[in-house]
């Protein structure tokens, strides 16, 4: 079915509130999903595939900081969705980058990492150069690099498969983000390395996708949409004669 961007954001926000997110976190989570969907990057699919995790994460609004100093932070994502506390973890790094010029944050053990791109877009629009890097645990190993130029609404995204599988038993369930106030951090893959490019989205492709989505509406799975509306309905108060009078006297 087709929906508008405003509908998507509004229903998602209410759905997250219905799940138990705080108002500010619901705002951010809905913006993260809507951002992905508006650029045809399957935000709704990403959300729906981990919906149980999102519901379980709703009360975890505070990042669990394992280590931090002036320009580095390590956060334990506790196997929760990045929608729950990813926003604050990224704001922590943003604050450090603003003060120190460059900052790095590692969020370990987190889920739905694709959705973090929506928040990175927001930081970029506030004048920060941002690059995020993560590996997927599938075999073969794939790597994803997302880079935002400061002030740009859209990133450059590369997903590629590694030819050589390194000997490494650290789980690939984290994401590393670099932020720099003054230096471009756009991903450029070294040509001499062996890799198989799986996906490549440039700024112009993404802008065109957004324009098309605005003109034609966003396509969503009706079943997922209904699920979200059910969560959103939890924020509504059941109507009664008394509540009807709460909108004013009858005519």
């Amino acid at each position: 079915m087709k929906i508008s961007l405003n509908e998507l954001q509004s229903v998602c926000r209410k759905a997250f509130m219905g799940m138990g997110f705080t108002a500010g976190h619901a705002d951010d989570a809905s913006a993260m999903v809507a951002w992905m969907q508006s650029y045809k990057l399957d935000g709704m699919k990403e959300l729906s595939e981990g919906l149980e995790c999102v519901v379980a994460s709703a009360a975890s609004a505070r990042p669990n900081v394992i280590y931090q100093d002036a320009d580095l932070a390590v956060v334990d994502g506790q196997h929760m969705s990045v929608l729950s506390s990813g926003n604050l973890a990224l704001e922590l790094a943003f604050a450090k980058a603003r003060i120190r010029g460059l900052a790095v944050i590692k969020i370990r053990h987190c889920r739905q990492r694709q959705l973090i791109m929506g928040y990175l877009a927001r930081l970029s629009s506030r004048g920060m150069n941002v690059t995020a890097f993560w590996r997927h645990s599938q075999s073969p190993i794939t790597e994803q690099v997302v880079g935002f130029r400061a002030g740009s609404a859209v990133p450059s995204i590369r997903v590629y498969e590694l030819a050589d599988i390194p000997e490494d038993d650290v789980p690939n369930d984290g994401v590393t983000i670099l932020m720099a106030n003054h230096v471009d951090l756009l991903p450029t893959i070294r040509s001499e390395d062996e890799y198989k490019l799986l996906a490549c989205h440039d700024e112009s492709d993404l802008l065109a996708a957004k324009q098309q989505a605005l003109e034609e509406g966003l396509t969503v799975d009706p079943e997922i949409w209904q699920q979200l509306k059910s969560f959103a309905a939890k924020t509504l108060v059941e109507a009664s004669e008394q509540s009807r009078s709460g909108a004013g006297p009858a005519e």
Binding site: S4, L88, E91, Q242
Partner: protein, 578 residues
């Protein structure tokens, strides 16, 4: 999008303080100015020579069927499609929970082909229950003013013009009960249409749709009259036609908008205040004074003949009418001085009611189109509440103490101060007010009351600062993630002049009607007539130019620009022309 930001020049213009302007009762006394969205539309249509034509009019003898109007601007082509149906009287309700209406209509971009028409027929009449096409910019619905409609159609069918006193009672044939834009129910997002030169301003597409409904309303009533008695029926006199606007019935649903769009509201109020400051700074000529006197007399005549059912509003209108007489006497007597307008406002502030004070502000702005109309381009805003996580907490504390002193110093503990809570009903998600402790739903309260939330942030901030004097905003948020939304708002709004309505929206004495009126004034609504304390009827485009005026090359430009506070046409003139 042009945005005028506060400049050094503003400092010399002596803008009124937010403490004065953003007080809820004053906002609830605003009258629409020439910068309102309705007034801007009629000027724009004239300046850009929009071509509007009726392309289809498939109505039966009862006026049921559909009609299509084409709007050709210099940049795009749009269509308005109206569906009219029979509605039982028992089904006719202005409440948002209604499921059927006399009319439903939409404004859309591009052409109307058979496939689109089929989708429109199936969905537009369902309104919220339909899935609307992404080429639609606006959907809306309207109900008849049954008595006015019957009176006008009967008179025209019998070859007579309607009794002007009947027209004065309602001032319209139809009233809309909701006008939806910005992506509602699948229609186009504002993000898309703000790229269009015609409708980049908020509510401009909605105003165009309502303006076209006004044309249809008279086309339809004339059609019904002709069908009833083809031999005798006459067209409505142009003066009477011009005097008919479109009514609107609005409830609490409008209130959250003012709270949830603080940057936009700040911009609207700033434009209004800047226009006022520019007008007040003009040294008046005799001509300006005469024009101000004429405007006062017209506004007084409008107030005298405006039929309002609500007793308190009737009293306010009556008081404003009486006080305008005093203003006229004052203006006629005082010597012409360079600071005349400031003297007038100073006198008004001490002697006249808020309603009259704000009415005078509106009239002063009316005097100087050349100096203020450019401000119309600044009525939009890029809305983005951003966090500054590296802001030292001492600075955030200072912002709260400077810009939110009205909020952090108030008492929210006493029963009256936390009397109401706002919530959204399962009935079409309509916003409602409930009494705390008495009604169900408190745990699902909408976070509209900014003032008590700001106070909670302040208290937590002070505690954290005691323990960590060098803490940053991010440190407060890591400790209190639930403050994320309001801290973003506080930091962003500190850089604006206006935007925060200075009221505790929980308070027992809070009047939601003031919120509605503030917004309606910016849209351009007249004849403010509250029904109880939570919904209101108003009128748009009463006195506005007609499509035939736009087609008339001899029409004076004043017709398109000077139609506020409309006075009823002279009955004899209308009858004599038959």
């Amino acid at each position: 999008m042009t945005q005028l930001t506060p400049t050094v020049e503003d400092a010399t213009l002596s803008l009124r303080s937010p403490a004065t302007v953003m007080e809820l009762e004053r906002l609830g006394s605003f009258s629409p100015t020439r910068l309102s969205f309705a007034r801007r539309l009629t000027r724009l249509m004239f300046e850009q020579q929009w071509q509007v034509s009726r392309t289809q009019f498939e109505l039966d003898e009862n006026g049921h069927g559909f009609a299509i109007y084409c709007l050709q601007t210099s940049a795009y082509r749009y269509h308005v499609v109206v569906f009219s149906r029979h509605l039982e009287d028992a089904q006719r309700t202005d409440r948002v929970i209604a499921e059927a209406w006399d009319l439903t209509f939409c404004l859309l971009e591009g052409e109307v082909d058979a496939e689109l028409m089929s989708a429109l027929s199936a969905n537009v009449p369902l309104q919220e229950a339909g899935r609307q096409h992404p080429r639609l910019l606006v959907i809306s619905r309207a109900n008849k003013s049954v008595r006015a409609f019957a009176t006008v159609s009967a008179a025209l069918a019998s070859g007579q013009q309607p009794d002007i006193d009947h027209l004065k009672e309602a001032g319209y044939l139809y009233r809309t009960t909701a006008v939806y834009g910005n992506g509602k129910f699948g229609i186009a997002d504002f993000d898309r249409i703000k790229g269009y030169q015609d409708f980049w301003q908020p509510f401009s597409a909605q105003m165009a749709a309502v303006y076209m409904l006004r044309e249809f309303s008279v086309d339809q009533v004339e059609h019904i009259a002709r069908q009833a008695d083809p031999g005798h029926a006459v067209a409505l006199h142009l003066d009477a036609r011009r005097y008919l606007g479109i009514g609107n019935s609005t409830g609490l649903g409008m209130a959250p908008f003012l709270i949830n769009h603080p940057q936009l509201i700040s911009q609207w109020v700033w434009v209004r205040e800047r226009a006022l400051a520019v007008a007040v700074a003009q040294p008046p000529s005799e001509h300006d004074r005469d024009r101000m006197l004429a405007l006062c007399r017209r506004a007084a005549a409008y107030l005298a003949e405006t039929h309002v059912e609500d007793a308190p509003q009737r009293l306010r209108n009556s008081e404003a009418h009486e006080e305008l007489t005093q203003v006229i006497a004052w203006l006629e007597q005082v010597p012409l001085d360079e600071a005349l307008w400031q003297q007038l406002l100073d006198w008004a502030q001490t002697q006249l009611a808020l309603e009259t004070q704000e009415l005078l502000n509106t009239l002063l702005i009316e005097l100087y189109p050349q100096q203020v109309d450019g401000l119309n381009d600044a009525m939009g805003a890029d809305e983005n509440l951003d966090l500054t996580p590296d802001m030292p907490l001492v600075q955030l504390k200072q912002i709260l103490e400077t810009h939110f002193d009205w909020a952090i110093d108030a008492d929210y503990e006493c029963e009256d101060a936390r009397y109401w809570f706002w919530y959204q009903s399962a009935d079409k998600e309509e916003p409602r007010l409930g009494v705390r402790g008495e009604e169900l739903g408190e745990e699902k309260e909408l976070a509209l009351a900014i003032a008590p939330t700001a106070q909670r942030v302040y208290r937590d901030l002070v505690d954290l600062l005691d323990a960590q004097p060098r803490a940053l905003t991010i440190d407060l948020l890591m400790a209190f993630p639930e403050h994320m939304r309001v801290i973003r708002r506080i930091q962003t709004m500190a850089a604006t002049f206006y935007g925060e309505i200075r009221a505790n929206l929980w308070h027992r004495e809070m009047k939601p009607m003031h919120l509605l009126r503030a917004k309606l004034s910016f849209l351009g609504a007249h004849r403010f007539d509250p029904k109880g304390d939570r919904w209101v009827r108003v009128t748009f485009f009463q006195g506005a130019p007609l499509l035939s005026d736009y087609e008339d090359s001899a029409a004076s430009p004043q017709v398109f620009d000077d139609w506020s506070f409309p006075v009823a046409p002279v009955a004899e003139r209308i009858s004599a022309s038959q």
